[in-house]
């Protein structure tokens, strides 16, 4: 009997709570997509809710692909993706979709070479060759020539890549496609590809774990993951011929360099960007916003949120190890917010 009573009381309370929420002028926005910027987004949505207590943005980090699908199916108000939507996907949308870069990410080469403590340098040719399976030994001239003074073993390179579809893989393969015509033709860029060589680890933690445990291995992980877990990683030669170590500044520099050629729709790849300070394996991550909202209240909230995110919100980035948008890009995006109707 007591159980029954408790149940009825709970049911009544639940019903009352639902009614209260529905009538309180609350605006609830649903969003879904990329996992990489999730910590940043959840911080932003939380901060924004603190300022505007009537706005609740619910973000599900189900992956970029899922975010795009849900946006096209209209089960969410807006989406998020680590790779821009392609033309086919944009055509499927009943309402035009706008891309808004939010923060920046980067991939770093991480390796495990017993007895080698030096920070290794990698050229684009070496990375392309290794991931195509053409450079198989650590003491290949393509690697030794740019690492003078480091004694590299004559061991096979064990290549490790992500096995799950991910924005991290998209950035890495986008970079390889730009620097290696053979990669572009044989493999291409996507969130999952048909890898010519290597072992697959699930998630950044899977790749990092495999690299840590397998002597003579080389893999790629997301920069923030490497920073937060204090994983050592190598420098990469950029298009100006400078070896650059990835950090928040060099990633932002890549974005600033690319902003000169920014297309109107912000669907731009900034891998292999120009500029001496630019880290070459960097990328934007985007919010995908419909250009037309039927619900004007939601529209106003989305516009206001974007405004806030470009200004106030960007201040929170570095505390969470995300590289923030360069001010040139912010200026362009502020103008683009007006396109939302």
């Amino acid at each position: 009997m007591r159980i029954v009573k408790t149940f009825s009381v709970l049911a009544v309370l639940l019903a009352l709570a639902t009614i209260a929420v529905a009538q309180g002028g609350q605006i609830l926005l649903n969003a879904a997509g990329a996992t990489f910027p999730y910590p940043m987004y959840s911080k932003w949505f939380d901060e924004y809710h603190k300022i505007h207590s009537n706005v609740q943005i619910n973000y599900q980090s189900i992956g970029s692909g899922g975010g795009i699908r849900q946006l096209l199916d209209k089960t969410v108000d807006f989406g998020a993706s680590d790779g821009p939507m392609n033309d086919d996907q944009l055509k499927q949308a009943t309402v035009p979709i706008l891309h808004f870069p939010t923060v920046l990410g980067a991939d770093v080469p991480s390796y495990n070479l017993p007895g080698v403590s030096a920070e290794l340098n990698f050229t684009p040719e070496a990375l392309g060759g290794i991931f195509l399976g053409k450079i198989t030994k650590w003491n290949d001239p393509a690697i030794t020539s740019v690492n003078p003074g480091v004694k590299l073993p004559s061991e096979d390179i064990v290549v490790v890549h992500r096995s799950d579809g991910s924005g991290t893989t998209y950035i890495w393969t986008d970079y390889l496609s730009k620097i290696s015509p053979e990669w572009q033709q044989k493999v291409g860029k996507a969130t999952s590809v048909n890898w010519p060589v290597g072992l697959g680890g699930k998630g950044n933690e899977g790749v990092a774990g495999l690299v840590q445990q397998t002597p003579n291995s080389l893999g790629y992980v997301e920069l923030i993951y490497a920073i937060q877990n204090k994983i050592a990683y190598g420098q990469v030669k950029n298009s100006s011929g400078v070896f650059v170590k990835a950090d928040l500044a060099s990633v932002s520099a890549a974005a600033a360099a690319a902003s000169k050629f920014m297309p109107d729709d912000f669907r731009v790849s900034i891998t292999n960007a120009e500029g001496k300070a630019a880290y070459p394996i960097s990328s934007f991550t985007w919010l995908l916003i419909p250009a037309k909202f039927t619900d004007t209240a939601k529209r106003d909230v989305v516009k206001d949120f974007l405004n806030w995110m470009m200004t106030q919100g960007q201040q929170d980035c570095e505390a969470l190890s995300y590289a923030k948008l360069p001010k040139e890009v912010v200026a362009l995006e502020m103008k683009a917010i007006a396109k939302i109707q």
Binding site: W195, L199, G200
Partner: protein
């Protein structure tokens, strides 16, 4: 108990839970209806599942037809999809798992049911049931951090040295691959084999043991020649329950199999299983063909389970026809 809160919550006047329970206990019709609904629901869920998989995989089925099953390429960029490496990986890892888990599980079950002192038996059974309750991601993590290094540095080199003439144990020792995935799976399915087999062995009537002993059989003879054969069908059942679990296991396998869609003779080689590729690629699959190919993989896994279960039934039928309950001569 399960349906008391439901039924009683809206109005507790005439339908107090106790009254309902009493009525249910007395009335055959209600019991019949409730159990029928339960059974029908199960059937309905299965039918819906297959229907959905069938419908959603239409694009991939039309594009690739039967060649989907024998194609070895999995290239999301070019839009070429084939299930063969995944089917291969699923079957190989499950076979390794069964080869290790069945002797271990059945052996332990015989010991616990027939030979061990009752106290030891019940506490060991409890431990084994605990193993079954461990989330699979924990097994995966243990696999990655404990088993993989041992495999790479000790077990695989030792196997290479002793059995290296077999193609099964050749090639570079990465630590991950079919063999490691099979071992992790074996640990995960042993509790199923053990627990069910033990129950079945215990259910063999006491008279049979006593009769065998009375005829002069030793304890072991009565166990091996009388009790185990009598429990044979149940033991088969436990093995196929374990197999079903091994075929569908996702997380633990993903973490140690190497995730490389490759068909290789060596158990040291990295591979891929159907469940693992679904877990890896589903969330980021963009493009309808890609998604529908993944769903078709789900359908293939379902059919695989179905076919293996069918074979199991057949096996049981055949062996039973040779005379169940009769002492083997």
């Amino acid at each position: 108990m399960a349906n008391t809160p439901n039924a009683a919550a809206p109005a507790e006047l005439a339908w107090s839970p106790r009254a309902l329970l009493r009525r249910m206990r007395d009335a055959d019709e209600i019991a019949h209806l409730v159990t029928l609904i339960a059974a029908a629901t199960l059937l309905l869920i299965t039918v819906l599942l297959v229907y959905q998989l069938w419908i959603l995989s239409a694009e991939s089925r039309h594009r690739f037809g039967w060649s989907f099953l024998v194609t070895r390429t999995w290239d999301p960029v070019a839009g070429e999809f084939g299930a063969l490496p995944f089917v291969f990986g699923t079957l190989v890892t499950s076979a390794v798992a069964l080869a290790l888990a069945v002797p271990l599980g059945v052996g332990a079950a015989i010991f616990l049911a027939e030979l061990a002192p009752p106290k030891l038996s019940s506490s060991l059974t409890f431990v084994s049931d605990l193993l079954a309750a461990v989330p699979s991601v924990i097994y995966g993590l243990l696999g990655v951090f404990l088993l993989v290094p041992v495999m790479r540095t000790t077990i695989q080199p030792a196997l290479k040295k002793t059995l290296g003439f077999l193609p099964l144990f050749q090639g570079p020792a990465y630590g991950i691959g079919f063999l490691t995935a099979g071992i992790v799976l074996a640990v995960m399915i042993v509790p199923f084999v053990l627990s069910v087999s033990r129950e079945v062995l215990l259910a063999v009537p006491r008279d049979q043991r006593e009769a065998a002993l009375a005829l002069g059989a030793t304890k072991w003879e009565s166990t091996w020649k009388v009790v185990v054969p009598a429990a044979r069908i149940g033991i088969f059942g436990s093995v196929f329950l374990a197999l079903a679990r091994a075929l569908g296991e996702t997380m633990a396998v993903t973490m140690v199999i190497g995730n490389n869609p490759k068909i290789a003779a060596s158990l040291f080689s990295p591979g891929y299983s159907i469940a693992a590729v679904l877990a890896n690629e589903f969330s980021e699959a963009t493009g309808n063909l890609y998604l529908s190919a993944l769903i078709e993989l789900g359908l293939v896994l379902f059919l695989l389970t179905f076919v293996l279960n069918g074979l199991a039934r057949l096996l049981i039928l055949v062996t039973t026809a040779r005379g169940s309950g009769v002492l083997p001569s």
